[in-house]
């Protein structure tokens, strides 16, 4: 019983924190965090006990299942409030509670001067509850409840700084995109229920696969259900074509971006597809769609990230791109790699967002990277931690994201999805490039900070830097701990049993990793590509070599100068010239054009369509309201005509 109690506490503490903060928070003034933050710290501690028990095999292979109470006792339609803790849940719990706790602590400093901080902490606690509910839910209905709640919290937090009109619009857009996805998700859940008559994950997946094997359920029905459910994941995890909300969601406070829009909520879609692996693996078509949408989002978002100047937007597109990776990974059957990447990405992106928040805080709420630069001296801790995060994102060994990304690419290649691998490699190069473009523009080179602000730039308070340092540790070491030895790391040991059935359905069998064979080559290729992207970015945008203690200067002027004097004279520096010129051509001119086109397409067509749906609906409502003329006789005539139509209809229908 104690374990059940602990899991219940994990849910109860955040919601209690929300209730208390919402009720009395306003009277707490600057100490609005006094309830909310300790609640999450304790939650974290309890969650760690649960996680430890789960991962050390305390719950067996099937995990811990328990029912809190019977939620809906309605005969056929009976739903229990039941929770499940298995190794997949445990991994998610680590990310959610750890990043959540650090973001809470970080927010103490970040929101210290905001008059609405009590609301902020209340929402944040509510979000933690919803997210934990989402992870722990043992059936579709409970998951759906959590799914809607995290969407609501996200909506409230994006619109937190409502005096900015852009924030209100962004909140609305996030809600709209999520609603579109949720329609499919809800229909999918209803379809599951009518097909198998249960909403419990375990039972439903079992009956679906039995039904397919026994011939009671058609293959297209399975594909249909999987795709409907996937709609929800597309909305929540911001995949093409519903990705438009995530970049705009950066209007919310930075801790929110870090927690909700990078590390936890956006992963909900990935988590769900992984949770539903027995279902998805039954339908090769659905798997293909997942892979295609994932990898397309990955390349689309990466190409857009190249040219953005808002620091948070670059990170947002990067998040999109990495989520795309995860879906691609799920689609090719590399479930473990997807969850591994999600974990690595959760910590790394959380770190990068909090770091960017620290930078934005430091330069007085400036987000344009063209008005930053040279900050590494002023903000050493922020710089160092973000460097770790960027290297990890770029896929440089031995940092966390290197292992996970490498595993995704390797599995895609080996499972026969060559196209996924090819696109993935390009994305890897782009990722390294834009991450170091971001680092260069922010931290290196001459300062472009507003001269009025410049003297006041200093490192953020400890409540902000300590979480950065704490997040940098997993971002650096997680891969080594979980991913080594290749193909047989801890993460694989934890998660493989969960995906066993899916692997069987897909006909994939686990081969030992040949470090001196194909795997080694793949690793080398991906590292080489990443290094190349990183090197180009360093050339163009500068770097500070910490060990050598000297700088690589940012290049724009030098490139311009070099190309102005006939560049042929500098054949001696051919290599350099070639790089610069090609980079100029590829990334600044051609790449810029392409990226600009993609950006335009994204804004005008995709985004326009999403907004257009809302406009059409509103327009229809506006036209329809005109029938309400205010004149009783018009109403009466309307009723009389409806009566005649109804009478005619009844006569025709009954006379057939």
């Amino acid at each position: 019983m104690p374990m059940e109690l602990l899991v219940t506490l994990v849910l109860a503490l955040p919601i209690a924190g929300f209730g208390l903060t919402a009720l009395v928070g306003r009277r707490l003034g600057t100490r609005a965090w006094i309830v909310a933050v300790p609640a999450i710290v304790v939650t974290w501690a309890i969650a760690m006990v649960v996680v430890w028990t789960a991962l050390s095999g305390g719950f067996g292979t099937d995990g811990l299942h328990f029912t809190l109470y019977q939620w809906v006792p309605a005969g056929d339609f009976t739903i229990e409030a039941n929770f499940a803790v298995d190794n997949l849940t445990a991994v998610l719990l680590i990310v959610v509670t750890t990043v959540g706790m650090l973001v809470h602590v970080y927010s103490i400093g970040y929101m210290a001067h905001d008059p609405g901080r009590w609301r902020f902490f209340a929402y944040l606690n509510l979000f933690m509850f919803s997210m934990l509910l989402l992870v722990l839910a043992g059936n579709f209905m409970l998951l759906f409840a959590a799914w809607e709640l995290v969407g609501l919290c996200s909506y409230l937090l994006i619109g937190f700084w409502y005096p900015r009109p852009s924030a209100a619009i962004a909140a609305k857009k996030a809600f709209l995109a999520n609603r579109v996805g949720d329609v499919g998700f809800a229909l999918g859940i209803f379809a599951v229920w009518t097909t198998v008559g249960t909403l419990n994950f375990t039972d439903a997946f079992e009956r679906l696969s039995e039904g397919l094997a026994g011939g009671q359920i058609e293959a297209w029905a399975i594909t249909g259900i999987a795709l409907l459910l996937f709609c929800g994941a597309v909305g929540k995890s911001a995949q093409f074509p519903l990705h438009v909300w995530l970049p705009d969601a950066m209007e919310g406070p930075t801790p929110v971006s870090a927690l909700i829009h990078a590390a936890t909520m956006v992963n909900a879609g990935v988590y769900f597809v992984a949770r539903a692996n027995p279902l998805f693996s039954l339908s090769p078509e659905a798997m293909f769609v997942v892979a295609a949408i994932g990898i397309f989002t990955a390349i689309l978002a990466a190409s857009i990230a190249l040219t953005q100047n808002d620091i948070k937007r670059v990170l947002a597109y990067s998040t999109l791109s990495q989520l795309g990776y995860m879906f691609a990974s799920l689609g090719v059957g590399a479930y473990v790699a997807a969850i591994f990447h999600m974990t690595a990405q959760g910590f790394t992106k959380g770190l990068l967002f909090l770091g960017s928040g620290s930078v934005i805080h430091g330069v007085h709420e400036e987000q344009d990277m063209n008005r930053m630069g040279g900050l590494w001296r002023r903000m050493p801790i922020t710089h160092a931690t973000m460097l770790v995060g960027s290297l990890s994102m770029a896929g440089i060994p031995p940092l966390a994201a290197f292992f996970s990304k490498d595993e995704i690419l390797g599995e895609a290649f080996k499972n026969g999805f060559l196209w996924v691998w090819l696109v993935g490699i390009v994305v890897a190069a782009l990722t390294a490039f834009y991450m170091f473009r971001l680092m260069g523009k922010t931290f290196y080179g001459p300062s472009h900070v507003d001269p009025a602000v410049e003297p006041h730039v200093r490192e953020s308070p400890r409540s902000m830097t300590v979480p950065l340092i704490l997040l940098a540790i997993p971002a650096a070491l997680l891969g080594l701990v979980l991913g080594l030895p290749f193909g047989a790391g801890l993460i694989g040991q934890w998660l493989e049993p969960i995906f066993e059935e899916a692997q069987l359905n897909l006909g994939l069998h686990h081969e030992p990793v040949q470090i001196l064979g194909v795997d080694g080559v793949l690793i080398l290729v991906s590292v080489a590509v990443a290094t190349a992207g990183l090197a180009v970015a360093i050339r163009l945008f500068g770097f500070h070599w910490p060990l050598r203690g000297d700088d690589t200067e940012a290049q724009p002027e030098r490139v311009a100068a070099l190309t102005a004097r006939a560049p042929r004279l500098y054949r001696a520096s051919f290599r350099k010239w070639w790089f610069d010129e090609l980079n100029d051509l590829l990334f600044v001119r051609l790449g810029g054009r392409v990226a600009h086109f993609i950006w335009w397409f994204d804004r005008a067509i995709v985004d326009g369509t999403v907004n257009g749906i809302g406009d059409v609906v509103q327009g229809a409502g506006r036209d329809l309201r005109r029938i309400q003329t205010g004149r009783v006789q018009n109403y009466a005539l309307g009723i009389a005509i409806a009566l005649i139509v109804m009478a005619g209809g009844f006569l025709i229908v009954t006379a057939r």
């Binding site: 004149r631 006789q633 005539l637 009389a640 005509i641 005649i644 009478a647 006569l651």
Partner: protein, 185 residues
């Protein structure tokens, strides 16, 4: 002298003739009610219409209903309506503006509805319909106090509710400036 069994020349029964006369009068007076330009005249035509209908009820062998028709509709409702007409007569209002400009649409709708209903009711085989028979008052009285005792009581409640609310709405009163009792803070 005795009347012939049937109407001379036409061969109808006297009852049929009576029915035709009453039916024509009923529809005619009803049309005068809805078409009349002067609302007071409409009210008076309505009384005539109700009286004709009482005749139809008598023809149907339900003298009690006919009597109630006269008492309730002519004696109470019509008087009430005429009274309200007097109260709300707009002085010097343009008398021509009797009909709404959708009157043509209304006419079409009414004709369609009337035709539809008339065709349907006449073409329907009413499965239980038998021979015509008059209703005895005694039977009605018995039913009213046995099977229909609940509806009978509820009608009383309905009238009470209508009176309580109607009096409140129709009475002219000044707003109460100071509510009695203490104000909640």
């Amino acid at each position: 002298m005795t009347l012939p069994q049937t109407v001379p020349f036409l061969g109808w029964s006297w009852n049929d003739l009576l029915f035709l006369v009453l039916a024509t009068a009923l529809l005619g007076t009803a049309l005068m009610v809805v078409l009349g330009r002067n609302i007071i005249r409409s009210g008076l035509w309505m009384i005539a219409c109700f009286a004709t209908l009482a005749g139809v009820y008598a023809l149907l062998g339900t003298p009690l209903v006919a009597a109630a028709q006269v008492l309730v509709y002519i004696g109470a409702i019509s008087v009430l309506i005429l009274f309200a007409i007097m109260l709300t007569q707009t002085k010097g209002g343009p008398a021509a503006l009797v009909f709404h400009h959708q009157a043509w649409a209304a006419a079409i709708a009414a004709v369609v509805l009337g035709t539809l209903l008339a065709l349907v009711v006449t073409s329907t085989e009413w499965p239980l319909a038998g021979e015509y028979a008059a209703t005895s008052v005694r039977a009605i009285a018995q039913l009213l106090f046995s099977d229909y005792v609940l509806p009978f009581e509820i009608v009383g409640v309905l009238l009470l509710a209508a009176v309580i609310g109607g009096v409140f709405l129709a009475k002219r009163d000044e707003p109460r400036d100071e509510p009695h009792g203490e104000r909640p803070e």
